[in-house]
Each structure stands twice: as structure tokens, then as C-alpha cells.
């Protein structure tokens, strides 16, 4: 490579390194704002030393605790508990749940923190995991039977 090309290569690599560093620092500074949701334990114990205050609008993401889904027979109101590694937060919601909403499934809810462990949600989204398998294999491997959303019963 002749010296002029070497020089241009150095300039290109230099620009890329500088821009990379700048974007990296920006993303690092914005880190907690880029997270889509709080986990239940982050709501109780705080994230980076900040505990969400009652009345704050936020998103929460966690697993639906099996056996905690309670439906109001008269209306669309539903309440369930969310958990990640320890703490449990109760979410109440009134509306249609997405197809993938199931006990044991990860979900993301947007709403207002009404008490330290209670969230009034106005939107519930299902978070899918990255595993794909046919129903027979899932049954053998995990003991999960595929339940069509229309037959789930909640």
C-alpha cells in the first residue's frame, strides 16, 4: 500500500473510532432510558439507586406467576402477578389480552404505579422468548401442552 492510501486508511479508521466512541458514550449515558421496562425487582429495590415513585408512569416486564390470573366474570378486568427473580408486583388491567398471554409467559405492561407493588395497566404486550419447537417436542421437553388462545380460558 502506498503512503497516500495508508494515510487515507488511517483517516477512515480514525473517523470510525471517533464516531464509535461518541455513540458508545451517548448510549452509556442514556442506558436506563433505552431499557423498555422495569423488572419487578427493579420496581421494589430500585434501578441504579432510583426507586420508582408511586404515581409514576412506567413499563414493567416479567413472568406471569402461574395461578394468579384472576378474571372478573362481569367485565374485561383481569389481574395477575409478575415476577422476575424474587419480588412480585400485581398488575391490574381492563381490556383484551394478546394471543401469547399465558401463565408462565413473559409480558410487558404499561401503566401507572398506584401502590409500591401495584400497577394499573392500560396496555399489556406479550414478550415471546427465542425458542421455537413443534408442539410434540415441547410436550416431551417441557411438559407444556400447546393451548390455542381461544381455548385458554382466561
Amino acid at each position: 500500500m502506498n503512503p497516500r492510501r495508508q494515510q487515507r486508511l488511517a483517516v477512515v479508521v480514525g473517523i470510525l473510532a471517533l464516531v464509535g466512541a461518541a455513540i458508545g458514550l451517548m448510549l452509556y449515558a442514556l442506558n436506563e432510558n433505552i431499557d423498555l421496562f422495569y423488572t419487578p425487582s427493579e420496581i421494589i429495590e430500585g434501578k441504579d439507586g432510583q426507586i420508582p415513585t408511586v404515581g409514576q408512569r412506567l413499563r414493567i416486564g416479567g413472568m406471569v406467576v402461574p395461578g394468579t390470573v384472576k378474571r372478573d366474570p362481569e367485565s374485561l378486568a383481569v389481574s395477575f402477578d409478575l415476577v422476575d427473580v424474587g419480588e412480585v408486583v400485581t398488575v391490574s388491567y381492563s381490556g383484551i389480552l394478546p394471543d401469547l398471554f399465558r401463565e408462565g409467559q413473559g409480558i410487558v405492561a404499561t401503566g401507572v404505579l398506584t401502590e409500591s407493588r401495584k400497577i394499573e395497566a392500560h396496555e399489556v404486550l406479550a414478550k415471546h422468548d427465542e425458542e421455537y419447537m413443534p408442539p410434540e417436542l415441547a410436550e416431551k421437553l417441557k411438559g407444556i401442552k400447546h393451548v390455542k388462545p381461544s381455548e385458554a380460558g382466561y
Binding site: L9, L27, L36, P98, A126, H128
Partner: protein
């Protein structure tokens, strides 16, 4: 060591190379896309949770992956153009750009169509979706910047800088699902672990991936050929080709 590459900086040699490579790419694309799509959409088993809706993976994942690798290819072309000052490299860059933009668009649209029934929303501003949208804007920016210049040499240089700078976004897209918590699920196949997908579902996906890659290559080669002809319209060898074609 790279000396053998240098003749391809000449437009005529690059044109001939495009012509030689094109049939291979077309045959691979047609074969793998028809096999992979048919296998994936008809014969692969349904998913245990998502049922048949998961089949959009056979379009969504290849197009999303290709949208990123196409961008890298475009940026490499821009870097070669910048360092070695090859005109053909800038032509390759601008030939690739719209193809990558279409891949990004397909990934975003199929993702939204899947997100509505599965997640419950068309769109959410999480890190993965937002960074993929920025990728689309980068492609469009490169194309717009190139066409904003009347002097195509200047345009190539300006768009090249943008393409190179935008490469920073590629690792952000890939690692967004690990660095931050997102609604989008983590990687299924592009990780060092064993893929978390059953083999009978994985095979059609890999075949389709090859098909999409060959398709992107084929369309880029056709566009590259056109770009060379358009820019070299007055050269004797182009005139000769035109005369032969019209006979």
C-alpha cells in the same frame, strides 16, 4: 497479495465479472428460495406456542439479517472507494444501497405484522425496533445524499462517508436485545450457543437465508451492471456492447 484485485477497478473488467457471477447467484436464489419457502410455509411443523404465526420467521429473519450484512457490504465498498479511490467501488456502493433498504423495509413490515397478533402491538419503541428503523433511514440517507450531487464523484464521496459512519449502528442492532431489555426476543440462530430452534424448523430457515443472500447478490449485480453502463455510456467498449445487443 491483493494485487489480483486491482484490474477490477477498471469498469470494463468489473462489468465482465458481474456478467460471469450473475447466473450463479440467480440459480442459487431461485432454487433455495423456492425450496426454503415451500418447506418453511407448508411442511415445517407449527410452533408450540405461536402456532402457524411463527412461519413469518422464514421471511423476517433472513431479511433482517441481510439488511445488516448488506449494509456492511455497502460500507466496505465505500471504504474501498475512499482508500483506493476506485470509481467502481462507489458504483458498487450505490448499486447495493436500495437493495439493502428494501430488505430493511421487509424486515420492519413483517415484524410489525407478526407483532400485532403475538405481542399485541404493531410497533413499540424498544432498542431493537428503533435501531432497525435508523438503519432504514441510513440507507435512505446514503441514496439521497448520492443523488443530491450532480457530480457523481462528489456524490459518491459524500454518501461514502455517511455509509462508513453508519456502520456503528450494526453492532447496536445486533446486541440491542442483550444490552437492554426489549420487547423483541433474543437471538435464535446468530449466537455462539446451539440454536434454540428445532432442527426441522431450522433447516428451511437456513436455506431461505442462503436464498435471500443470493437474491440480494443477484439484484446488486444487475444494478451494478446498469450503473457501469450508465456512467460509461460514451466509452468505446460500452458502445460496442450496445451495437452488439441491437443486432
Amino acid at each position: 497479495m491483493w494485487k489480483w484485485l486491482h484490474p477490477y477497478a477498471k469498469t470494463e473488467r468489473a462489468y465482465v465479472l458481474c456478467n460471469t457471477l450473475l447466473p450463479w447467484f440467480v440459480v442459487t436464489a431461485v432454487l433455495s428460495l423456492s425450496i426454503g419457502t415451500l418447506w418453511g410455509l407448508v411442511f415445517a411443523p407449527a410452533d408450540y406456542q405461536q402456532g402457524d404465526s411463527f412461519r413469518i420467521i422464514y421471511i423476517h429473519v433472513p431479511s433482517a439479517l441481510l439488511s445488516m450484512s448488506t449494509y456492511v457490504a455497502m460500507a466496505v465498498a465505500a471504504a474501498v472507494g475512499m482508500i483506493w479511490q476506485w470509481r467502481t467501488a462507489y458504483m458498487a456502493m450505490i448499486a447495493i444501497a436500495p437493495v439493502g433498504a428494501v430488505m430493511t423495509f421487509i424486515a420492519l413490515v413483517t415484524g410489525a405484522a407478526w407483532g400485532k397478533p403475538m405481542w399485541g402491538t404493531w410497533w413499540v419503541w424498544d432498542a431493537r425496533l428503533t435501531s432497525e428503523l435508523i438503519l432504514l433511514f441510513l440507507y435512505l440517507g446514503v441514496m439521497a445524499l448520492y443523488s443530491a450531487f450532480d457530480d457523481k464523484r462528489q456524490g459518491g464521496k459524500a454518501a461514502g462517508v455517511m455509509a462508513i459512519v453508519g456502520v456503528v449502528n450494526i453492532p447496536i442492532i445486533h446486541y440491542s436485545v442483550e444490552w437492554w431489555n426489549t420487547l423483541h426476543q433474543g437471538a435464535t440462530i446468530t449466537k455462539f450457543d446451539k440454536p434454540s430452534i428445532a432442527p426441522e424448523m431450522l433447516w428451511p430457515l437456513l436455506i431461505n437465508l442462503l436464498g435471500f443472500a443470493a437474491f440480494v447478490g443477484a439484484v446488486s449485480l444487475v444494478r451494478m451492471r446498469n450503473e457501469i453502463i450508465r456512467r460509461e455510456i460514451h466509452r468505446p467498449w460500452v458502445v460496442l456492447i450496445a451495437k452488439q445487443a441491437s443486432k
